[in-house]
């Protein structure tokens, strides 16, 4: 069972602002997810490997060969406030 405070904590970590109504909804939905995981936890999973990935692939790698990078002006084009070739952002300390 998820408490209201836990919902607010997770929302803060994810930088989400939730309305009072959304908090209530989330308490219910997140609790439902945990209950589902609990049900799986009650199954007899002796000898079943934990699943971290659902596709049966391993070692997909690339050779260490340089590929062209973006021209800086293209890289910076979506930046609202470029400065001196860099992405200017509000100082995180000011937060």
């Amino acid at each position: 069972m998820i408490e209201r405070d836990q919902v607010l904590h997770v929302a803060r970590l994810a930088r989400l602002s939730l309305s009072e109504e959304e908090v209530e909804t989330m308490v219910g939905e997140l609790s439902g997810i945990l209950e589902h995981v609990d049900r799986i936890g009650n199954l007899d999973l002796e000898g079943v490997e934990p699943t971290s990935h659902v596709i049966a692939l391993e070692n997909v790698l690339r050779p260490d060969e340089p590929r062209p990078s973006l021209p800086p002006d293209v890289a910076l084009a979506p930046a609202p406030e470029p400065q001196d070739g860099a992405f200017r952002v509000p100082s995180p300390q000011a937060e």
Binding site: V60, L61, R62, D64, S69, L70, P72, A75, Q83, S91
Partner: protein
């Protein structure tokens, strides 16, 4: 109260010297114009997929082999979630519960784990913009973002600051000799953080630790840890308790300041990276990693100590493989001479002579061949020339190379064999320095130096110091 014991563990970030980034083909660089090595992957544009660099995996396996780590048969990447402008995805791809390298050891220190991850971008804080008070800004340069890193975490096996710095040097040298990183602390390709705590001596429990960051030299590492240990000892001895926190070391003032971080800052909500499939090293890759290892410093130090070298000399050679190779050639040519004596000539007299002559490079680049150096040492050992003359010959060899015997002949440096001649010179030197003679008679043995010095000047260093001493004592 029982005496407090220091408990120190280190976390070392090593930037791998690959050509390209960890998950994209952008080139690695240092000191380039900002944002010239970026692409949709390392800028985290929507819909892109990371693909690991196989050379980074190879390097990580080599580090694992060098640190005697257990290699995970199957390891996976995780997302470490946090919001900060140096991380455009709002998570760092790292490894969590199944790192590529597990438990290992280097020297006396156990390795807890070593894992692969990507570096963050570089941020420059530019302060106030002027319009609104307190509205500082930062400039983000993504050239470094996505650089492959191996993070090595030790067990808390270190017991004082000097030991921590010395072990960190050994680790750096080991990584350097693997050739997998530039290990340049000033440029940040090797970064060391320290976890520091104190506990009553003999206790098995760990005290509350603090994490020290930003020590970009071994000297600062030692100073930072010393300062923090002193702070914790004082705090605990006066009845206080240590708070878990991250401390930033300021090299200018040598002080530590707390980085006040919100409680949830460490709540990273790791979960398996769905865009990357597991790493399963093949037998062949593991064998290749083991076989690629050169003789590493720890093994070299042990071998040299068995040959009779002092630890410090063995360490000096082990951290300089080319000079070590030179030393081994000298040993081969100098059969019958103790390796310890030859090592002292290589790391002592020869190194000093090269410095004196302002010659670039080490012994291996010098004009002195290993057999010639061995020959010179043999002349000194057999007392054909004095130690002082040996250094003069060495200085001549540094300039022009050549056979030491011929230089001895040319410069007339052969040890004085006519003891009658030497006796006369000693007598004269004693007569010229009555004050010194008086002092020696009164038991001040240091005064003998004045007379020995006068004899050496007169003989241009060709006299055997031991013989001169003997003669002086005889004539008192």
């Amino acid at each position: 109260m029982a005496e407090l014991e220091a408990v120190i563990g280190l976390e070392i970030h090593v930037q791998l010297a690959t050509k390209t980034k960890m998950f994209c083909g952008c080139e690695l660089s240092f000191g380039d114009e900002p944002n010239v090595h970026t692409c949709p992957v390392c800028l985290a544009h929507p819909g892109v997929l990371p693909v690991p660099n196989e050379q980074a995996i190879r390097y990580a396996l080599q580090i694992g082999a060098a640190l005697n780590c257990e290699i995970a048969p199957r390891s996976i990447f995780h997302r470490k979630n946090y919001f900060y402008p140096d991380s455009p995805k709002a998570y760092q791809i790292s490894q969590y519960d199944i790192p590529i390298c597990g438990a290992g050891r280097l020297g006396d220190v156990r390795i807890h784990r070593a894992h692969l991850e990507e570096d963050a971008a570089k941020m420059i804080h530019v302060g106030e913009s002027g319009r609104i008070h307190g509205s500082g800004a930062s400039l983000v340069d993504f050239n470094r973002g996505g650089t492959p890193l191996v993070e090595i975490v030790t067990e808390p096996d270190l017991r004082d600051a000097a030991e921590a710095a010395q072990w960190a040097r050994l680790l750096r040298e080991t990584i350097r000799q693997l050739g997998v990183s530039d290990v340049n602390m000033e440029e940040g390709s090797l970064r060391v953080d320290a976890n520091v705590s104190v506990r009553p001596a003999g206790s098995e429990e760990l005290g509350t630790k603090t994490e020290l960051k930003n020590m970009n030299s071994f000297r600062f590492l030692q100073r930072g840890v010393e300062a923090e240990l002193a702070r914790q000892r004082e705090l605990v001895e006066s009845g206080g308790t240590v708070e878990q926190e991250t401390l930033h070391f300021d090299p200018a003032s040598g002080s530590l300041t707390s980085l006040r971080s919100k409680e949830e800052a460490h709540d990273y909500r790791y979960f398996p990276e769905p865009d990357l499939v597991p790493l399963v090293p093949s037998e062949e890759q593991l064998r290749e990693a083991r076989e690629s290892l050169p003789e590493l410093p720890v093994a070299r130090i042990a071998r040299y100590q068995e040959m009779g070298l002092a630890y410090d000399v063995a360490l000096t050679l082990a951290t300089d493989p080319r000079t070590a190779g030179y030393f081994e050639n000298v040993v081969e040519a100098g059969e019958g001479i103790e390796p310890r004596v030859l090592a002292n000539w290589v790391t002592g007299e020869l190194a000093a002579a090269l410095r004196q002559a302002e010659v670039d490079g080490g012994a291996a680049d010098s004009r002195i061949s290993p057999p010639d150096l061995a020959k010179l040492v043999r002349l000194v050992q057999e007392k054909k020339i004095s130690h002082g003359s040996g250094k003069k010959v060495l200085a001549a060899m540094v300039k022009g190379g050549g056979d030491p015997e011929k230089i001895v002949e040319r410069e007339g440096l052969a040890q004085m064999s006519d003891s009658g001649e030497l006796e006369a010179i000693v007598e004269k030197a004693m007569a010229d320095n009555p004050d010194a003679v008086e002092k020696i008679r009164e038991g001040n043995n240091k005064a003998i130096g004045a007379i020995v010095g006068a004899v050496m000047r007169e003989t241009k260093g060709r006299a055997d110091g031991g013989e001169v001493n003997r003669l002086i004592q005889e004539k008192l």
